[in-house]
């Protein structure tokens, strides 16, 4: 789909570990998926397969280990402590800048420049500064520039304030305002804090903090789609709306475009309806566009989940037990569908208990048991591996077979 060559390395997990308290659910699992492949991940119940999936898309990121997807790391590189530090510095600065609000409310300064600044503050400058905390906590690049502007502006305010505060003391409004005495120490604090904020842009530790923080929706936008073991459709929405939701991260219309119903937003909405309908036809639900997702038959719900994941335009599709609860006819249809997905150029990583499905589909299989990778290889190799037989049927049975 993205014009990758078959066989190009797409996903590489290296020694992924996930612990919950004292329990290690995933132990140093390494795994690769190449473009165009269908890879199976099997193992007895509780082997850590779904936990591993959750590590891949930041629902519960790994405790340690590295996951690379198409050149991007899928593991937040920011240590929680560093993130907290930067977040707190940002919060402090945002609160400090609120100190100027009483000045703004007065609107009494004669200089045009300050009156302009005052009106700005009144109409939400303080809001934007606090809003800044959000991108700051997600470490996006443009937030740095904005922060820089605020730091400089506040530094200027502070200098002017300290220089001229005796003059302002005579203006009735400020002396009445209960926070007035705070303004002088506040201005001093800003003057002290500002250089640190400027330094932030060069401190290696903070630069690292600006590096990357990943949320589930960011990873989906990078091109990792998934379905769920227990179906998690938006059951009161129509099938079409479910799939259109998948288009969310591929559409751009912003709040104002939508509220004002600008032509761009309306066209995008039509396009996304078309693309969603296309995805539904692809999985064979072209006739159920307007049905409520929750009222569809079980097999159709499974396919609807796949359509929704396909609408996010993934390069890698994670399927968590797609054949669970299906009868043989339905699972034959599913095998066919997954083949067609693969032919469309989407790599598939599939967790499955139904051996017929997984042996039939997968190019390669990884076997997990008690969180550890115990075998990997082609379906034929895995089937005859004594460790795998032992994991599934017990040691005695394995001995009897050998």
């Amino acid at each position: 789909m993205a014009g990758r060559k078959t066989g190009e390395l797409l996903l590489k997990a290296h020694k992924v570990v996930k612990t919950f308290g004292g329990l290690t659910a995933v132990k140093e699992v390494s795994l690769e998926v190449r473009a165009g492949e269908i890879v199976g991940l099997i193992g007895p119940n509780g082997a850590g397969k779904t936990t591993f999936f959750n590590c891949l898309n930041a629902i519960a990121g790994p405790t340690s280990g590295e996951i690379m997807f198409a050149g991007h790391s899928l593991v937040s590189q920011v240590s929680p402590a560093t993130r907290l530090l930067v977040f707190r510095l940002g919060a402090l600065f945002a609160l400090l800048s609120l100190l100027w609000l009483p000045l703004a409310l007065g609107v009494v300064w004669p200089e045009t420049f300050f009156r302009l600044e005052a009106v700005l503050a009144l109409s939400g400058l303080a809001f934007f500064r606090i809003y800044l905390l959000k991108p700051l906590s997600h470490f996006r690049a443009w937030s740095r520039l904005l922060l820089l502007i605020f730091v400089l502006a506040d530094g200027l305010w502070a200098v002017v304030w300290l220089w001229r505060s005796p003059d302002f003391a005579e203006v009735g409004f400020f002396s009445l305002f209960p926070f007035y005495p705070l303004l002088v120490p506040g201005a001093l604090l800003i003057l002290i804090a500002a250089p640190f904020f400027l330094l932030m842009f060069n401190l290696p530790r903070v630069r690292e903090a600006f590096g990357q923080h990943l949320r589930a929706d960011v990873i989906t936008a990078l091109g990792v789609g998934r379905t769920f073991q227990n179906i998690r459709l938006f059951s009161s929405l129509s099938a079409l709306d479910n799939v259109k939701l998948g288009r969310h991260c591929r559409t751009r219309a912003n709040f104002f475009g939508i509220v004002l119903a600008l032509p761009g937003a309306r066209k995008e909405e039509r396009d996304s309806a078309e693309k969603a309908a296309e995805c539904l036809r692809f999985v064979g639900l072209g006739k159920q566009l307007e049905s409520r997702a929750g009222s569809l038959p079980y097999g159709d719900q499974r396919r609807l989940e796949i359509a929704r994941a396909l609408a996010t335009e993934p390069e890698l599709l994670l399927l968590d037990e797609p054949a669970a609860g299906m009868n043989p006819t339905e699972s034959a249809g599913l095998i066919n569908l997954i083949r067609r997905i693969s032919q469309a150029g989407i790599a598939v990583l599939i967790i499955e208990h139904d051996m017929k499905v997984v042996m039939n589909l997968a190019d390669r299989i990884y076997v997990l048991d008690h969180g550890e990778l115990i075998a990997s290889g082609t379906p034929a190799e895995v089937r005859s591996n004594p460790l795998v037989i032992e994991a599934y049927l017990g040691a005695q049975h394995a001995a009897a077979q050998a």
């Binding site: 949320r215 936008a221 938006f234 009161s236 509220v259």
Partner: protein
């Protein structure tokens, strides 16, 4: 005899007009409660204060409280936008840090924000009841638009009703036919799944607050004009009543909030007109209690599925 019936029916019609006007305002506020509840299961008790803020902003921008006056339409638009931003700010400052905290913590915070905002308004505008200076309101608003015998429909009532209907229609279109509305409905059902399908949950919650607060602000200005009175505690009573309207309609349901607002407005006006004006609030709440007794989830409410 005939005149008596005519007088009766004209009283009835007049009450109907007043009730619908009041109901449409309650509906506008109730929608804000219900949207936020639908998306993050939080009863935003500070929503009434956003409405109060809308009224005060409208008053200030028209009367020149900030040192400059704006023309009527512009003042209304600016107030609505500022209210929307205030709602988003409220979410970011007060509620977002508590997204994963127990629900009670966020609820207490909401009450705290309500008290804070009320006192902030007291600090800025003072406690006395303010009214819009005569010259700032377009004069035609006070004149009757429609005269049917004794029944008077003023232009202001027409403006309130059309604004409310227009805003509700716009909201319906946004919630049902846009990517943001779809994301709101998805988050209401399953936050994690929505996030895994590529929805930035925090951003969509901010949009929800913006929409709800914008409508609340609009209602504030309309009420300020209707009663020609603006004061810091006006948000408290209106907020409680709109919350009751949202519960009556089934909290979490937008059509429910609209219908609930309408019913409450009519009950209040008819109760005040036919039974006793001093008990009008009590009658409105009695209607709500009756409905809740018969249908505990509200008119359009669905049985909440417990998440195990």
């Amino acid at each position: 005899m005939l005149t008596a019936i005519f007088e009766q029916s004209s009283l009835f019609l007049q009450q109907l007009v007043n009730g619908i006007t009041l109901g449409s305002i309650y509906a506008l506020i109730a929608v804000g409660y219900t949207m936020v509840y639908g998306v993050i299961q939080l009863i935003n008790f500070a929503h009434g204060e956003i409405y109060m803020l809308g009224a005060f902003l409208g008053f200030s921008l028209l009367s020149g409280f900030f040192g400059f006056g704006l023309p009527f339409g512009l003042a209304v638009a600016v107030s609505v936008v500022v209210c929307a931003l205030a709602g988003v700010l409220l979410d970011i400052v007060a509620y977002r840090p508590l997204r994963r905290a127990p629900r009670l913590a966020a609820l207490i915070t909401a009450i705290g924000m309500s008290i804070f905002l009320q006192n902030l308004a007291l600090l800025i505008w003072g406690g006395q009841i303010q009214s819009f200076p005569q010259h700032t309101i377009p004069p035609f608003l006070g004149e009757p638009a429609l005269l049917l015998g004794d029944v008077v429909v003023s232009w202001l009532q027409v403006v309130i009703l059309t604004t409310a209907i227009f805003l509700m229609l716009a909201l319906h279109l946004i919630v049902h036919y846009s990517r943001i509305g779809r994301a709101m409905r998805a988050i209401a059902q399953d936050k994690t799944a929505a996030s895994l399908m590529g929805v930035d949950v925090d951003r969509v919650v901010s949009y929800t607050f913006a929409l709800g607060s914008g409508l609340g602000g609009a209602a504030g200005i309309l009420v300020g004009l209707y009663y020609n009175a603006v004061y810091p505690t006006m948000g408290y009573f209106a907020g409680i009543k709109a919350f009751a309207a949202a519960v009556l309609g089934g909290i979490g349901s937008i059509p429910g909030a609209i219908l609930g607002g309408g019913i409450l407005g009519l009950a209040e006006v008819f109760g005040g007109g036919y039974i006793s004006s001093s008990y009008s609030n009590g009658i409105a709440y009695a209607v709500m209690i009756l409905v809740i007794l018969v249908k505990p989830t509200g008119l359009f409410g669905r049985q909440q599925r417990d998440k195990a």
